[in-house]
């Protein structure tokens, strides 16, 4: 008997070591997404390589360390070939249109210094803006290479004398106001009007309010102004890495991820406020969760961002070489790319752009190629469903959501979308089922409340009967009778009173 008990106890202890939630291991470079509990789960490829534009093959004009590219509304591509100080202009089929390599200004030749970092093309005016980083200037020319204007460092008391002006990235709004990122400037983008007057900083990177920051702020309340000026703040804002001017007139900005950055990806409105709802959202990879790569710590360094008319934006993490695509509620749509030598992986991705066909162009500075990624059927379905969903057309989104789930049952946003559709249709039980699968406690609760109200309405008689029975059980039959007699007596008295 004792032995039997010992064996039983041993079995129980062994069984207690078994944990049903075992993390699954899988191969690297497999598509994945994050589930509702931020665990990486296998997924389906949302993007695939359409073609790799190797400009060397286009009449022998290879890039040397190209740094930036720009795609205009006609899908024409402008590549800033920094090593040779020229701009390569491709048409929408990625065929060579022109190489802009001679720049003339007032009849004299002007050369771009090697290492220019930013390019922007404004279609309305036909102006090409080039951030000529190492010459400390912005060069504005047309597509024939005729230079229209050259802007050096603007005069302003706010721009300190000692600080170099090294413009790296530039975007221009419809009024010709330039937003310029400069090296070693961590106070946001320089906003410079079309006559090169500095009008202020824009989109300064918010510092995360950790308790250390709050402590320092509190401590400084007790210091005198003199002391405050002399001691440097230990928490400095992080410099932005890149800007993107979107068609809906918002400016997207990205920065590296670190301890002081509030959120590394922001969508700024005209006054520089972030309009993305990014609480409880993370961008890039969660270090320990990546499928098949759970040991290495990945801290995303976002170096470029691009967005389309629907507010879907894609960020490039140059540390992992991966691209992450989000909708405007910051739901993860796709993760693709990575570092490597295969097709679809990158050596040193420096810039991304998207075009009107929803293709993503990735400029690789080491391979000197542009990789064109196109949406797969799965990617298209997700895009369509998300678009309808964010538009509030839940029922219409039902079909693409089921199509998404047919291909990838791990995509939790699809379950929530289906749940919302059923909720709109009044099928609360189905809605509850799908909200549970999608891990959406709040909507589940809402569906439960609606179902409860409905049941209560339908079965009112039964519920009332149960309440009465419970009252009898608590107060006893005699207690009820007493109240009933009293009530009837009072009623009779009143009637008599009225008759008299």
């Amino acid at each position: 008997m004792k032995r039997f008990i010992a064996a039983l106890l041993g079995c129980v202890i062994l069984a207690s070591l078994w944990n049903p939630a075992v993390a699954q291991a899988s191969q690297p470079d497999r598509p994945y997404t994050y589930d509702e509990e931020n665990q990486a789960v296998p997924s389906v490829n949302a993007y695939q390589v359409k073609e790799i534009v190797d400009v060397t093959s286009l009449g022998g004009v290879g890039f040397t360390s190209a740094q930036d590219l720009f795609v205009d509304a006609q899908d024409q591509v402008y590549v800033l070939d920094s090593g040779k100080g020229r701009v390569i202009w491709l048409d929408e089929n990625f065929d060579l249109v022109k190489i802009i390599d001679t720049f003339t200004w007032n009849g004299e030749a002007l050369t771009l210094a090697a290492g220019a970092k930013g390019i922007f093309y404004q279609e309305a005016t036909g102006r090409l803006y080039i951030a000529d980083t190492n010459n400390d200037r912005i060069v504005i020319c047309d597509r024939d290479g005729a230079v229209l204007q050259v802007f050096g460092k603007p005069e302003s008391a706010l721009l300190e004398e000692g600080v170099d002006y090294k413009p790296t990235k530039i975007i221009v709004n419809n009024l010709g106001t330039m937003y310029i990122l400069s090296q070693n400037v961590n106070t946001g983008a320089l906003r410079i009007d079309k006559d090169n007057n500095f009008t202020g900083f824009y989109g300064i990177n918010a510092i995360k309010e950790t308790w250390e920051v709050k402590m320092e702020f509190m401590w400084r309340q007790f210091l005198t102004d003199e002391q405050n000026r002399q001691s440097e703040y230990s928490f400095q804002p992080t410099a932005l890495n890149n800007l993107y001017w979107s068609d809906d007139r918002f400016i997207y900005a990205v920065s590296p991820t670190n301890d002081t950055v509030e959120t590394p990806v922001v969508k700024l409105n005209a006054v520089g406020d972030n309009v993305l709802e990014a609480d409880e959202v993370f961008f890039g990879d969660l270090a320990a969760n990546e499928v098949g790569n759970s040991e290495t710590e990945v801290v995303p360094v976002f170096s470029d961002i691009t967005a389309d008319q629907e507010g879907v934006f894609t960020v490039l993490d140059s540390a992992s070489g991966k691209l992450y695509q989000y909708d405007d509620s910051c739901n993860l749509l796709a993760v693709f790319g990575g570092l490597g030598t295969q097709r679809g992986l990158f050596d040193l991705p420096v810039a991304i752009e998207n075009n009107s066909r929803n293709e993503i162009l990735v400029l690789d500075s080491k391979k000197n190629t542009i990789t064109v990624m196109e949406q797969t059927y799965y990617g298209q379905m997700i895009r369509e469903a998300i678009f309808l969903h964010n538009d509030g057309r839940y029922e219409e989104a039902l079909e693409p959501w089921f199509e998404v789930l047919r291909m990838n049952a791990n995509y939790y946003i699809a379950y929530i979308g289906i749940g919302k559709a059923y909720m709109n249709m009044g099928d609360y039980e189905q809605a509850q089922y799908y909200f549970k699968l999608g891990g959406d406690e709040e909507n589940y609760s809402e569906a439960k409340a609606k179902l409860r109200a409905e049941n209560l309405k339908e079965n009112f008689a039964a519920v009332a009967a149960v309440v009465v029975l419970v009252m009898i059980f608590i107060m006893g039959y005699d207690g009820i009778k007493k109240y009933a007699v009293l009530a009837v007596g009072a009623l009779k008295k009143r009637r008599k009173g009225e008759k008299v």
Partner: protein, 211 residues
């Protein structure tokens, strides 16, 4: 002495009386040796069962995905371990502090103190099926009150069986917490030691096998 009322109660109903009248209940238990091992085991087993049910059947919006992760043997072993660590720690210190309680009495008191939590968990399981997140305070606040009640029962019970004053009871409870920490620490060291031994043996086997 004439025995009546709660004094003649069946031992299986007695914890319910103790739950509402801890002072009288535990005094009577101590005097007339009413602590019973079957009742203790039954109460702990009931708590384990109710806890597993709680993890499984509390509705999704108040529970998350716990229902799918619950492992019944693991819950059972953990709870039994916690029960014995707490009672053992208390016994260790109270024997040193002139406590008159025996180990089985301490276990009985601890088991009786669990009873309100068992009942509350049952109520929560049923109510969670009807309540939404916004209304969940209806069960979360009473749950806190019930936990305090359980702690109070434990304290009163201990003061009765050890024949302690209020101050000394509080002091012994603090020492019990210290004891729990010490036991956990020693346990952890033992586990680590055996793990190292295990890896040592495994590596020796590998050396012999592949060299």
């Amino acid at each position: 002495m004439k025995r009546s009322g709660f004094q003649t109660m069946s031992p299986y109903v007695y914890p319910f009386y103790t739950m509402l009248h801890p002072k009288d209940g535990f005094q009577e238990m101590k005097m007339n040796h009413k602590d019973s091992v079957p009742v203790t085991i039954l109460l702990v087993a009931a708590y384990i069962v109710v806890d597993i049910l709680y993890r499984i059947f509390v509705d999704f919006d108040l529970n998350g995905y716990n229902a799918e992760k619950v492992s019944a043997p693991r819950v059972a072993v953990t709870l039994v371990a916690v029960f014995f660590i707490v009672t053992a720690a208390n016994w260790c210190f109270c024997t040193l502090l002139d406590g008159k309680g025996k180990f089985r009495e301490i276990c009985y008191v601890a088991a009786c103190a669990i009873l309100p939590m068992i009942l509350m968990n049952l109520i929560v399981i049923i109510l969670s099926r009807f309540l939404t997140i916004d209304e969940s305070v209806i069960i979360t606040y009473p749950a806190i009150v019930v936990k305090c009640w359980s702690l109070l029962l434990f304290a009163v019970g201990l003061s009765e069986i050890h024949d302690y004053s209020g101050k000394k009871t509080v002091f012994s409870l603090i020492l019990t917490v210290v004891g729990i920490v010490a036991i956990l620490f020693l346990g952890m060291i033992t586990v680590m030691l055996f793990r190292q031994l295990y890896y040592f043996i495994v590596s020796v086997i590998f050396e012999i096998k592949y060299s």
